[in-house]
């Protein structure tokens, strides 16, 4: 019998560390001599910095230094270099860091923040992507065209607030409209929300003698930190070391590099002494980046039989004050704009737009939740108008092998999966045939809404990952990778993949949890649900490399050919006689002959993986291959709605994903229902609210509301398993996907229940009431 790991709910590798309180996160490092940096943030959403008076603050107890943007005239940004880490000359959002007070204690640093006097000259502010798009809108960046482009495929437009513009042109739109029997048009608005990882972002920076830069961060992207510090400040990459321990939740928000640059500058300004900068919750919401906002316009047509004929989609991404990764999310929306449906004639313009909101960065789903809301609401409207069953409409149009994506990638069973099978399962799990609108009593109705989803990653075409497999003298294995454990248990998944490949007990695999960029093999970023696929492939290759080394050494000792041998249960054995074997413990660290002579050495397996066959999108048509494969799925929500006061209770939330292969059922369910739960939060209550001056009114958890325990619905999760052929054991990415269709499904359900179109988020009872009142008038 061989050990089976893949498909089993093995416990998390970090389970007891976390359940005992021993788990260490970045701010759990208590280091003597640490200085504290406190951010002075902008109280103006758009304005010129007229003066900064540091005089009083510099004389406060414990204050060592104060730095401002003028001290470091650098620009940063992963796509466009448009972002001064400390505002310089002007501020572009309320909460933007303007200065840093460095003091001996945190209390002293914070106390001195209040004594820094900054004068602003207010400029007109832009608070929605729609306004920002209008000709004559105040420019947030004066010369967006002159910024350095960090990628080849970003297209800022001169004299506008447009940081990027992605076009999809597929098929023949006029022909599509001509073939349409029904066409619907609608507009949608989604506000920004926040990641609310329970651990707020925090960093320590230190510059050692010899100019070695050491960063400790609560980041999802240690390798990006290294790269950005290197490019921003002209330091050799190898001189920078980034350490990341366990991370207390990321959801995309800890992919952005921000505090790291500031902490580096702070440390530099005090002779390299270690400086810690830790966001308060308020700063984490209003100073560090959020989710994007969206204004979308959808025009969708179908022929008499309900087959989609044409789609015109305009996405205006509210990226806030800086581009960061907003432009890549605008690209993601464009490249998947049809949803998992066959539409041959597609025209999409997706814009990444600056506003005077907090800047946006990646957020679970990477733009897919947002455009899916617009698209799937449109589908329901079309179904209603054509008097078609919404589930049947989706099924009829589901993409299949042989179709092509909006960017004209040929779809196969492997790279697409099976949406129809997901819908069939969903249909029975939500009891669709019982009806989707059921009157319970005079005031109460139950209704159901659905949404499909699909997602592919959107990485650089050369994104890569490495892995190292080290055999211990006792035959157990150390696994070292560059992925950060941000919560979903990806490092346990990788251990399962390795255990399966080595056919050994997973308890004998030891995973190195922290990432240290000087030791750990590279991993692009721990984002995009890509760890299992990318790092998993590197782990398999590293395991194979280790196996090859073991086989050749054992072959020599056993006087057989390596091809006669195999590896299992920490032994190398003769295939045709498993009783003839050697323990890996005896050869993993050199083999010692009875006479004392030794051969071989420590077995270190190395593996790496780079994305295959990806291309940038054509700037005029969008043609190109953005990611290796899709994950498709279908979701449903059942609500009980009160017609009198417009309150509602979410009874049930169902998700069916084509997971390819479920590697760890309990962890898969956890990460999916966690996504669903967050999706319901965004759908119902989460929102960054600004006042007329652009000031955030929801900057604490007292006012920014997330779902609390006890209000969750019953969760149902099921799978279809169509293997992704080039992925470890066929697994598809599933980490983000639970969130994607939830807002759309809920809005579809509530629109039906309330008898009014609900085209914005969050879906508060007040919104429903307001929409009904508007309709009355």
């Amino acid at each position: 019998m061989d050990y089976i790991s893949v498909g089993e709910s093995v416990p998390r590798k970090d389970a007891w560390e976390k359940a005992s309180g021993a788990a260490r996160y970045n701010s759990d490092r208590i280091q003597p001599g640490l200085l504290h940096g406190a951010l002075v943030t902008s109280t103006c959403a758009h304005g010129l910095i007229k003066s900064i008076d540091l005089g009083a603050a510099l004389t406060m107890p414990g204050v060592i230094n104060i730095i401002t943007g003028a001290d470091f005239p650098v620009l940063s940004g992963p796509v466009l270099e448009d972002h001064p880490p400390l505002a310089s000359g002007k501020v572009r959002y309320y909460g933007e860091p303007v200065a840093v007070v460095i003091a001996a204690t945190e209390a002293q640093a914070v106390a001195a923040v209040g004594a820094v006097n900054i004068e602003y000259e207010a400029l007109p502010i832009v608070t929605s992507p729609l306004d920002s798009f209008k000709p004559g809108a105040p420019l947030i960046h004066e010369r967006v065209d002159l910024y350095k482009r960090m990628v080849s495929d970003v297209y800022p437009e001169k004299d506008t607030n447009i940081a990027d513009h992605i076009k999809i042109r597929k098929g023949d739109l006029p022909k599509g409209w001509a073939a349409s029997h029904t066409i619907i048009e609608a507009e949608y608005d989604l506000p920004q929300a926040d990641h609310i990882a329970m651990e707020t972002r925090n960093v320590q920076a230190e510059i050692l003698p010899g100019d070695e830069v050491v960063i400790h961060s609560s980041s999802q992207t240690p390798f990006s930190i290294r790269k950005e510090i290197s490019s921003c400040f002209g330091i050799d990459l190898g001189k920078i070391t980034v350490h990341v321990p366990l991370v207390g939740g990321g959801f995309g928000g800890k992919a952005a590099v921000q505090l790291e640059l500031i902490a580096y500058m702070a440390s530099l300004s005090v002779g390299g002494r270690p400086v810690k900068i830790a966001n308060t919750r308020e700063q984490d919401i209003s100073t560090s980046p959020s989710q994007l906002g969206l204004h979308a316009r959808i025009k969708l047509g179908a022929d008499q039989s309900g087959r989609f004929t044409a789609l015109e989609a305009i996405f205006m991404v509210d990226s806030g004050a800086y581009c960061d990764i907003g432009s890549r999310m605008a690209k993601s929306m464009a490249m998947n704009c049809t949803g998992p449906y066959r539409i041959d004639n597609v025209w999409c313009d997706s814009y990444c737009i600056y506003t005077n909101h907090i800047y946006a960065t990646s957020f679970r789903g990477f733009g897919h939740l947002e455009f899916t809301f617009a698209l799937e609401r449109s589908l329901d409207k079309l179904a209603a108008q054509m008097q078609l069953d919404p589930l049947e409409l989706r099924r009829r149009n589901a993409l299949k092998a042989g179709d092509s994506s909006p960017t004209q990638v040929a779809l196969t069973t492997s790279n697409l999966g099976n949406l129809e099978a997901c819908l069939d399962k969903l249909k029975s799990l939500i009891n669709w045939d019982q009806g989707r609108y059921i009157s319970i009593d005079a005031n109460t109705v139950r209704s159901k809404g659905i949404s499909c989803l699909w997602k592919t990653s959107n990485s650089p075409t050369d994104a890569f990952s490495g892995a190292m497999v080290i055999i211990n003298p006792d035959g157990s294995i150390n696994l070292i990778v560059g992925a950060v454990e941000i919560g979903p248990g990806m490092l346990t998944t990788l251990a399962q993949i390795l255990a399966e490949k080595m056919k050994m007990d997973i308890n004998r695999i030891h995973v190195h949890m922290p990432v240290d960029t000087r030791v750990s093999p590279h991993h692009w970023k721990t984002v995009g649900s890509m760890t299992t696929y990318m790092v998993g492939k590197a782990v398999l290759e590293a395991a194979q490399d280790a196996i090859n080394q073991l086989l050749s050494l054992a072959a020599m000792v056993l006087k057989v050919s390596p091809s006669d041998l195999d590896v299992a249960r920490e032994r190398v054995y003769l295939k045709d006689n498993p009783d003839y074997y050697m323990d890996i413990a005896d050869i993993g660290h050199a083999y010692k002959y009875p006479d004392g002579n030794s051969v071989g050495g420590q077995v270190i397996g190395r593996g790496s993986f780079v994305m295959r066959h990806l291309t940038p999108l054509d700037p005029n048509t969008g043609r190109g291959r953005p990611g290796p494969a899709w994950t498709v799925g279908a979701q449903a929500v059942e609500v009980e709605y009160n017609r009198r006061d417009h309150s509602y209770k979410i009874l049930k939330a169902v998700t069916v994903l084509d997971a390819g292969k479920v590697i760890n059922p309990k962890h898969a369910r956890g990460v999916i229902t966690g996504g669903v739960s967050m999706g319901l939060g965004v759908a119902t209550r989460e929102e960054i609210i600004y006042d007329e001056q652009g000031q955030i009114g929801t900057s604490s958890l007292r006012t920014y509301k997330v779902l609390h325990c006890g209000q969750q619905p019953e969760y149902v999760v099921d799978y279809v398993e169509t293997p992704l052929l080039d992925s470890p054991y066929g697994a598809r990415p599933i980490g983000e996907h639970g969130i994607i269709g939830m807002p759309a499904a809920l809005a579809n359900s509530l629109s039906l229940a309330a008898g009014i179109e609900l085209d914005q988020l969050p879906l508060t009872p007040e919104l429903i009431w307001k929409r009904l009142e508007e309709e009355k008038r």
Binding site: A107, V110, R685, I689, K705, H708, T764, E766, K770
Partner: protein, 276 residues
Amino acid sequence: MIPFDFEYYQPASIAEAVQLYNDLQQNGKAPMYYGGGTEIITMARNSSIKTQAVIDIKQIPECQQLETKGQSLIIGAAVTLTAIAEANPFPLLTQAGSRVADHSVQNKITLGGNVCGTIIYHEAVLPLLLADSEVCISGINESRTESIHTVFDQQMRLNNGELVVQFKIPLEYTSLPHWHVKKTKLEKIDYPLITLCALKKDGAIRIALSGACSFPFRGRAMEKALNQPGEDLSKRVAQALQQLPGPLQDTVAGSSNYRRFVLGNLLEDAIDGLEG
């Protein structure tokens, strides 16, 4: 993390507490009485308040009293909302207190702190207003017992240095028919959009509200409109809505028009519940 320093005192008697307050104030320390500290700590953290001395009243026996004496229920100002809920001598107060913040925070919030604080909701004061409670107050020169209606006008009106020692609730009110509902924007753990408490005394319904206006209040004029048993319910409610003591709040939690709509429903439910 509180960025400034203050001194901490834990007096064991009322006399000590008020004397301390007096002395510390004379030394320019802007002292504050400290009950559960939940408001003081959170507001000190972001420097919304500044004080150089806090006087923790939790060791003062009178402030910790929770008992029935003669015809009154006595609740010390430093008794926590959880302790009140567990003893449950006044179910309406239990209900109101059990929806302030969350359960863990209720282990810390004191009744006195909720009534005397600056956060505008003071949900626990609503039952006290309806039950014609009295407030025992001590200052450096005198102690006084006042009707809550005299000292709580939109917020607690205390003279400089005065300490709320305890609340006295006439026993007869504690077992009257009552009604409590807290409506939030949507998430349950939130400040109130509107919290409504009602009591029925001698056939008449009393109403107190938090969240509706920018201060909690007992709606006497509203009660008049509501207590017209013969009249059509919707008409009574509509009339009551004319009798608010101030404008309905217009905030991110809810617009004033929406609050009017919600309040109308809540009033109907309360009348239905208490008359039915």
